[in-house]
Structures are given as C-alpha cells and as structure tokens.
C-alpha cells in the first residue's frame, strides 16, 4: 500500500439482504489524483461511493482516509474530515434558496475557509443565489450539489455521475471546473458513464463489474482490455 494514497478501499464488501452488491473491492486514490470509476449499471459504483461517504457501513473491509481508518463513520463525520460528494440524482434542499443551500454546508463545516459568494461565483450560480433550489433545472441542481460539497472545503471529492443529462457545452464547462478544483489540490473519485468526460478529468480508471474491480489503468487501455470489452459489449 503506497503511503501517498489519500483514500484506500481495502476488501470492501456490502450485502443488502441476500444480494451482494460489493464483493471485496480494492482501490486507491493518490493524494491530488483523480481516479475514474466505470462499469455497467448495477456494478456497485454508487454503493462504493455511499460507503466511502459514510452513508452505508460496509459489511466487511476497510476504508482508510489520510492514513486513518474511517470505516463506518457517519456522513457528517466524513464531511468534517474532508470527504464530500455529489449525487447521481441531485439532492438539493428544495425549500431553501441557493445561497442557503451553500450556507448550511459552510456553517456546519469544520474546515471551511471558503465564502458563499466565491462558491456560487465559481459555479456560475451567483445570479440564482436567491432562487428556491427546487425551482432550478437538473443541471443547475447538480452544480448546486457540487457547490454545497465545495463549501465544506473537501480534500476528497466523490463525483457521482455529474455529467449525466448535461448538454455537451455544459459537460465541457463542468470538466473545466473539476480540473480547476484539482489544480487547487482536491483529490477526486469520479463515477461516470461518459467516457469523453471521464478522459478529460481523470488520470486512471478502475472498471467494476458485479461488485468487484476487474481493471485498473489508463482509460485508453481499458478499451483494449478483453474483460472490460466483454462486460460492456457482451462476450
């Protein structure tokens, strides 16, 4: 295990009743790196993100963050430690304004030196600051998810299908934002189906299938890997 890994997932398993969603996943994200996580629907990507962010406790295995065992910590504790995320289906505080959405996160963060207006400006949400979050469109709500995560000043950002449903122009814009955040030193784990987008924001990818990782390496190499091809295109 390399010492510069910010996040290490070691042998993580997760069962829901009789269904084993994860069957011993191992992966590492180096400090400052960006790892892509791909795989067909139901391969366990979001379950893994939910475990790392503390929403689920794993059935077995360990999650280490910054060298510390954080297995089974609660979501608000993970948030305080510097792990945050976006959601596949955006989850804004619908009855609050955009500004309040960010302020809740800012006010409860243990680490944040950020300012609400900076976060909103960075995501081009400044003009919507006083709108009720429920009235935003999906793309805007996804950005707001990201904004709320940024307000907690995360060291590790888990990005769960931020690209899905965005227009090509929006996709480029979001990719640029994520790269800017990386340059600021935020480490990322990015779940995505859109390979073009993934190629722009990540260094390496892990491919998952049926609850286990089957490939680690460059995205281009993944496309040549027989196991990966079989999973995506059928054998």
């Amino acid at each position: 295990m390399s010492s510069d890994a910010l996040l290490s997932v070691v042998g993580v398993e997760k069962s829901f009743g009789g269904f084993q969603a994860l069957r011993g996943v191992n992966l590492e994200v180096p400090r400052g790196g960006a790892l892509g996580l791909v795989g067909p629907n139901g391969s366990g990507k979001t379950t893994l993100i939910n475990i790392i962010s503390g929403i689920y406790a794993p059935t077995a295995g360990k999650v280490r963050f910054g060298g510390q065992d954080v297995t089974g910590r609660l979501p608000h504790q993970m948030s305080h430690l510097g792990v945050n995320r976006t959601f596949q289906v955006p989850k804004p505080f619908g009855s609050l304004t955009v500004r309040q959405n960010v302020e809740v996160a800012l006010g409860h963060s243990r680490r944040s030196g950020r300012k609400t207006d900076d976060v909103l400006a960075f995501l081009d949400l400044g003009g919507l600051a006083d709108r009720e979050a429920a009235s935003l469109n999906t793309a805007q709500q996804k950005l707001l998810d990201l904004g709320r995560a940024l307000a907690t000043d995360p060291k590790l950002l888990l990005v769960d299908e931020l690209g899905a449903g965005l227009s090509p122009a929006d996709l480029d814009l979001v990719a640029e934002k994520l790269n800017a955040l990386r340059r600021d030193g935020i480490t990322m784990l990015v779940v995505e189906h859109l390979m073009g987008f993934l190629g722009k924001v990540t260094d390496d990818v892990v491919v998952m299938n049926a609850g286990a990782e089957i490939f680690f390496g460059k995205l281009e190499a993944a496309a040549q890997d027989p196991k990966v091809v079989e999973v995506f295109l059928g054998g």
């Binding site: 962010s53 503390g54 929403i55 609660l74 979501p75 608000h76 993970m78 948030s79 305080h80 945050n84 995320r85 959601f87 989850k91 804004p92 505080f93 619908g94 009855s95 609050l96 309040q100 959405n101 302020e103 809740v104 996160a105 006010g107 409860h108 963060s109 243990r110 998810d145 709320r148 995560a149 307000a151 907690t152």
Partner: protein, 306 residues
C-alpha cells in the same frame, strides 16, 4: 439584521400585550387561557413538523406528562407552582429523550408510533394500580394552589418564550439546518449537519414547550381527570391549527389557533354538529387546495411571511 431583531421583538411584545390586555375587554379568561395553550402547542408542533417534517400525532403525551408532572410535584413534594411547572417541563423533556428512538421512523410511521407512545403514557398514568402515585383514573385536585390570575400571567410568559424560541429557530443556523434535513436528510448529513442530534434537540425543545404548557394548564384548571390532558383531540387541534395557518412560519400557526379556536368557541359549543361539519370541510379543502396553509396564499403573491 437589526431591523429583523426589532420586528421579532415587536411580535413578542404584541402577543404579550394582546393577552395581558384582553381580559379587560373580554371577561372569559378561561377561553383566553386556552387560546394561549393552543397557540403555544401549535408552535410546538410547528417546531417539529414545520422545521423537521415529523408530524407528532402523540404530541399530547408531552402536554399530559407536563400537567401530571407539575401537579404531582405540587401534591407530593409541595413544590411551589412555578417551580413545579418547570419540573413538569423537565419531565416532558425526559420523556422526549426516552422516546427519541421514534425519530428513526419517518412519515406516517412516526405519526402512528408517537400516537401509540402518548396513549401508553396515558394508560400508565391513569392506571388504578398507580393510584398512590398518580391518583390513577380519579384525577388531580390542586385546590389549595388554585390561582387563576397568576397562572394566567405565567401562561403569557410561557407563550412569549415559545414565540421567541420559534423566532430564534427561524432566524438561526439551527433552523436552516432543520429545514435542510426536512428537505433531504442525506444531503444535510453530507453538508456536515449532525442530523440525529439536531433533530433530537428540536424534538426536546418541542417536548419542553408542551410540558410547560401542560403544567400551566393543570395549575389553571386545578381539577382534572387523565383523559382531559391526554385527549387525542388536543394533538389534533394543535396540528390542524398549525397546518391551517402554515407550518414553518411563526404567524401561520398563531393565526390558525386564533381563528379556528375562536370559531370552535363561537359555534363549536352552541352548535357542535355544524362545527364538526365546517371543521371537516375545512380540513378537506386545506389538504386539497392549500397544503401549506393560509401563509402560502401570501407567499404565492411574493410576500414574506414571518
């Protein structure tokens, strides 16, 4: 910010003045007292439902335990009434703590479980086997402590505190966090909000209000049976008043309590059948057309409702 503080202070002062001066103009102090009881209870429901989304059908349990707690402290330990009232509030908070695991449930399940819990408390308190402690089904007599005037003014103070607490919650980071949890508990947790702890805290504030109000009610009434302070209709009134006015605002439940409780007293007692008809229709119309209460009529026009 400063202007808001003035508005808040003004609201509290107006409420206090209204109930301090009302007995000069209107001689039925009992009715005024009970109106204060319902305003405070509906604000208690409001803290829980309006801010966290949990609908406490068993809210009356805190009211009843507060009434009994305060009474028994006066009867068994000879505590002076005001101290006993605080004791009643504290006992309600303890009950709230004991029942806090119910908050793991949500929606209708929470509503039903809290209702069951309140009825369990009622059955324990009214059990003849506990006659030596609670006087069982034979009820409470506080005749030696009877003081309708002082208990009236103590209720004014409790009401003022309740209004101030709701205003504080509305303005504070705590209140925004509660609303965030109501909208999406998972996102709230990721935003760093300790969801369980803050929700439990709101639940206990709400319990404390009902407990204090129950104690004041017991003192004012001075003779009552268990079913009078554990009646489900108390929960239902407080909930309907809150929903009618608009949960999540301060003025909504206040407006709802004054209008609907006033209506109950004008026609509910003389013509109960018409009252029930009107009430039933009102609830149906409310659920169908105005789920966010009267306050939403103003909000739709773009006004801010305190």
């Amino acid at each position: 910010m400063l202007r808001r503080r003035w508005v808040d202070a003004l609201v509290v002062v107006v409420v206090v003045l209204a109930f301090v001066l009302a007995p000069q103009a209107y001689s039925n102090e009992t009715l005024l007292f009970q109106m204060m009881v319902y305003i405070a209870l509906s604000q208690g429901v409001n803290i829980l439902y309006g801010f966290t989304g949990y609908l406490p059908f068993g809210y009356v349990g805190f009211f009843g335990i507060g009434a009994y707690g305060a009474s028994l402290l006066m009867l068994h330990l000879n505590w002076p009434p005001i101290l006993a009232l605080l004791g009643g509030g504290a006992i309600a908070v303890l009950l709230g703590l004991l029942l806090s695991p119910l908050l793991r449930l949500s929606g209708a399940y929470f509503a039903i479980a809290s209702l069951a819990a309140s009825q369990a408390v009622y059955l324990i308190v009214s059990n003849p086997a506990l006659q030596n402690v609670t006087y069982g089904p034979y009820g409470i007599q506080l005749v030696s402590q009877f003081n309708p005037t002082l208990s009236y003014y103590v209720m004014v103070v409790i009401l003022a505190l309740t209004v101030a607490v709701v205003l504080y919650i509305r303005r504070s980071r705590f209140g925004t966090a509660l609303q965030a949890m109501r909208d999406d508990p998972v996102s709230a947790a990721m935003a760093g909000v300790p969801v369980v702890r803050q929700r439990t805290f709101a639940w206990m504030i709400s319990a404390a209000i009902a407990g204090l109000v129950g104690g004041a009610f017991a003192w004012q009434t001075s003779v009552f049976y268990p079913d009078a302070v554990f009646s489900l209709s108390i929960s239902i009134f407080a909930i309907v008043f809150t929903l009618f006015g608009g949960a999540g605002t301060l003025l909504g439940p206040l407006f709802g309590s004054v209008v609907l409780y006033g209506m109950y007293n004008t026609i509910g007692i003389s013509d109960p059948q018409y009252f029930q008809l009107i009430y039933g229709l009102l609830i149906i119309l409310l659920v169908l057309f105005l789920p966010d209460g009267a306050a939403s009529l103003l909000k739709r026009r773009g006004s801010h409702v305190l």
